[in-house]
Symmetry: T
Subunit: 144 residues, 12 copies
């Protein structure tokens, strides 16, 4: 089983970026936790980050055959990118939407996810734990 973790804009700032909202772990530390758990579960993962909407679209488009499930933290693009949405539905690889913070408890404009309608499910608000939960969720999505 191969899962593709995609991280959107500003997630490379984790650890320094508003730790009260996003926690104190760096993205690299989160990747480490994900890899550790994936190793235990026998799952291969690919873990990427980009500030570029186009990179994320390209990676989603390249995923068929390379990944069984995409786990996507689209960050700010969650709320503004129809193009990401179309990439997900056009590519057809099952996708899980994750967020470090509980977006539904923040500013009004973060309550709306443009990608949710084409994703299998959403996990939000558990910090780094959102990534680990998504790993389990992906296994169950793959199995379904």
């Amino acid at each position: 089983m191969k899962f593709l973790f995609l991280n959107g804009p500003n997630l490379n700032l984790l650890g320094q970026r508003e730790p009260g909202v996003y926690g104190r772990l760096t993205l690299s530390e989160i990747e480490g936790m994900v890899r550790e758990k994936a190793g235990r579960l026998g799952v291969t993962i690919d873990f990427r980050q980009s500030n570029s909407e186009a990179d994320l679209i390209d990676w989603i488009q390249q995923s068929p055959g390379l990944a069984d499930v995409i786990i996507l933290n689209a960050a700010a693009y969650t709320h503004t990118s129809v193009a990401l949405r179309d990439a997900i539905s056009g590519t057809g690889v099952p996708t899980i939407e994750i967020h470090l913070s509980n977006i539904h408890a923040r500013e009004e404009f973060r309550h709306k996810s443009l990608i949710a309608p084409v994703c299998r499910g959403q996990i939000a608000g558990f910090g780094a734990q959102s990534y680990l939960l998504a790993l389990d969720a992906a296994i169950s999505v793959k199995a379904s």
Copy 2:
């Protein structure tokens, strides 16, 4: 560790209620899966369902001391009950919001959760698996 699973209106219909949306497992079968995993994790759980908004409020109010974390599938009341929201914030027990279906991919009126702003996080769209993921999430919430 003790977790309280609360299930809102019509979840007692599971298995027969619109299986295309909610899956084919009964609530009792889901409870069984939760209890099995909880047993493995050494967690005590309480698992209840009611069609009554007042019952849910009462149970949330009684939870301090009895539960470390509430895992709440408020079903339809998610979108209409300010009273549940006030019960959660008034009681202060950390609460995780779960949904069987991906509410953000359904009718517009299901996109808005009145309880989200007072919950720690949200897991939606993974069917019975949402309950099992919440068990892990609750452990991490308790630990934080």
Copy 3:
């Protein structure tokens, strides 16, 4: 043929409650008229009222096998209860929505029915006659 008439909050006040809007007949007198006509038509009816949203949900859930058609005057819950809507769609018994007054001619917030999208049809504005018309409508729904 068995029909279940369910009456929502404050309908027990009929006759005394704003007769200019709702008419001068009591709910019991309406029940009498319904029973009289049902008798003539050879239809068995069950006729209930509750101020409790949960009671109404419970009764709808219990209806399969006991009723061929539900005739529902949800009163105020028409405009606020997603839970009733989910009970109707989850249970699957054909349901007819009725109102004593013409809700579309009253305050703006009464124009919107949350249950309409899961009901077969709506009869509104004919006072007690709405109940009698629904009896005919139910027979035709059952026959279809």
Copy 4:
């Protein structure tokens, strides 16, 4: 007793027009059913259809003295015609609004009826049966 049945735009297409939504009966067959039942009830009916908003207004204006009750399926004009509304309120003949389909369960723009506030009541969603129910409703409106 004389009742005037008025049918708005595209109802002459019935039977062929989207039978999944509107049923398989032609307007002429519905008229036949109405005439048959009216005959049994000793009611004289007039039954007309036009695609023209002006025709419908003219007919409503001509109704005093000729009809005790108007039964109006305004079809698409339900949602766009203030002029029909003014004709009804200006003429003063009691009017019953009917629809073949349950307009409240369809596209958002069909939920709003501009004529409802000046009609006695509304019957929607029962197909041809809506017309037959309206006949009973009209008798009760006339009697009130």
Copy 5:
């Protein structure tokens, strides 16, 4: 003179529930203050709380003859319950709306009261004092 104080959902949590918003007095202590002042004024009071919308509706319906004025802190139901509104207008006992906090200074969804249009007046924002002021207001409403 007899006044009925009705308290809605979560008010039984007072004292512990978000004291920064609602104050440090328990509902029982507030009841004590109300009874003390009522005693001085020679007024009989009944003081109840429920988390159940149906209980509140029932109590309002039972009030004619038992209470001259209802003093209602509907709490969360203020913003969501059309059924309470209909109970008040259907029963006809003059009702005063009270709130511990200044609802107009809080979240947007608390600014709108569904029951206000059928109440005589509103007192909000004075903590326990809102109850004592309402006692005076009720005497003046009774006298008018």
Copy 6:
């Protein structure tokens, strides 16, 4: 000078239609008053009414060369007809919008005039006097 008075739907009901709103004069009596004043002022008038949107459009289209100013009481079409608006702007004859009632003091949907942006001015709320004032206004528009 030649002025064209155009009257929209239901204005032929004047005198009998809701006299509390529209006054007790018939359209024919208003025409008489207009003709009498026009005679005194040496103005030729043409005075027409139709319930048909298309008739009104046709008459506006035919007006160049036949009328110096159009005085238009579009009645209900004021609020729904983009086609009338386009006829006025497409034809180019200066047009004055009149109303018997003060549309801005009535239902919300009557506050918006779709034709106002292509008319010279608006006179509303003076009953039959609105027509006589428009005669003066038209002379000044013609002179400008």
Copy 7:
């Protein structure tokens, strides 16, 4: 007969203020035209302007006994002043709303008049002629 013409903010700029919108006549020249016509009609007029909302309110409050009709060009306050509206309805002197420009053909925020619902009628878009038409309208309002 005595009429009170009240002019709101910035109308003292007339003649120099955006002549393309408001015309080239000064307010004083308009006053002269009004006085000339009033003289011919045997009507006494009082003609005032202020940039102060409070002045306009005071003048309206002082008008009973001094004026039979108020003719009010509230200018910018038309769209923002609830206080002017309350002064008109509280004082009870019949009031005619006038505007030099056709406010319904300008920016969206000028389409809404807060005072219209308490005025008898509205004349807008005829420049200085709006004032002269209002004189005739006021005579007919007084006579009614």
Copy 8:
């Protein structure tokens, strides 16, 4: 192949009506261009215009068997006519929506087309050329 070109209200004014927006060609000249190209392509065309919504509905209803594709410039009715929409979907003849001007670049109320959801496609903004392009589009629609 037979195509039916239908033209809505005010299109008979073309050439004189706001040439800056709609161009300088008359509808008759456009018809000539269409006929010339249709002749070259071996397509029979019918080309009609009416200011009447009912005429357009009638023509659409009569089209099955007479036309393979309808090319509809509904003009102002594009934005206000649910009846035209229902005629198109009820009749079932494939329909192409055209506009001379780019409606999406004009007033806000022209951006919304009520008929678009039941048409195959839309061509807007190319003046008379929109008609010629639609001829090609219709051939491809017919072929599909």
Copy 9:
């Protein structure tokens, strides 16, 4: 203890202004009632009215040191004045918002109070009694 009662626009009309809405007492009679009760309570009061927004702002700004609590009936300015709001928050003297009528039961635009978010509480709907209740409320605010 010194309290400053400030009264906004048109409150000088009380007694004559729409007595059905505002009651039959003049502002001077209300002042008398307030002074009488204040005397009994040993409180010094200052009682003022102005139609000018600027006067009200000035008085609020001058209140520190002169008044312990402001009791403000801002009347129409309640709904339109951000400047009053800023004066209250900028000056810092605790302020109680009062209204004679129940603003939440009137026109939609009166439901929104711009000053509420910076006031301690609101008393609305008890006529002159609102002033007397505010006196008690102010004592409790001062004591808190």
Copy 10:
């Protein structure tokens, strides 16, 4: 004559991406059809695709002198990119907006085109044929 065809995000997925919506042709096959027709017409074309908003902006900026007309299928960016809009209006090369699907018949958020107001016209809903029609349209735009 040189035309620049620009294709936005996910159009490289054509053929595999939701063929029910977008058709079964690949972008490369569409390019082939365009080149074939362009060859016949003696037009030079440049045909590009990118998932990057910035690429599209760069290409538009580089077009003056290189292209007479831009034919732009902005795909998802149609609904979200003000930057593309500004590139078009800032560069000044006439631009034609095209879409494979009829965007006005899909989700609400696809009805709004941010680029339409700065484009000459729009062709939507004809699949690959939209591209071929645009070629004709571009020739006529160039000629105008």
Copy 11:
């Protein structure tokens, strides 16, 4: 060069009014800073404050000939005064809008400036520095 600095309601409270939002300098100290810099630049300034909307309008109207540029901190009136807007556009003296705080980062109702569309530019969020920057901006506006 002569510049007129106008300050709106509550700015006389500066230094004491919510220093966290508006800073600790008094308006008089800001005036001093402005005068000092103006002196260095050889610019004459006039610096005024009023809580009265009418005063501000009067001062703007008097400015032609007396001031080359107006620098306006309209404070709360920024968001509510159409009259100020009309004064600026009617008078024609170039006006610069300034704010101490960043109004776009505060409550939603402060994001909208009614006067912005008639001002040259806006400087907001730099505290007293906003005034000094405006001095430079005014010189460049004057020079343009």
Copy 12:
């Protein structure tokens, strides 16, 4: 002191792009003016432009340590980019928002700035002068 000037999409078109809106200076000429003034003030500046949202995010992320203040003309991304907003708040370098044109006086969609809530202040409408003013503003922000 080091300041980073970042310029968003299409600003490389300056001078040729809609000079009526944006002025006739090229971005390079503006950079020259900024460098000249910065030199006089002893400030080091870095001045960049990109059409890519990702480039702008990257540059903001790299700014800590390299720049004391960011001066950001985000152009079209001002209104659509949550990602830029998150980059600013996540990075923590004080940022000043500038615009050549007065965005508040243009199309409605340009009135809303998504980045304003995380910027210190905004300068808009002064053309190239906005950049020079921002230099002064940045010095004062740095000093504060």
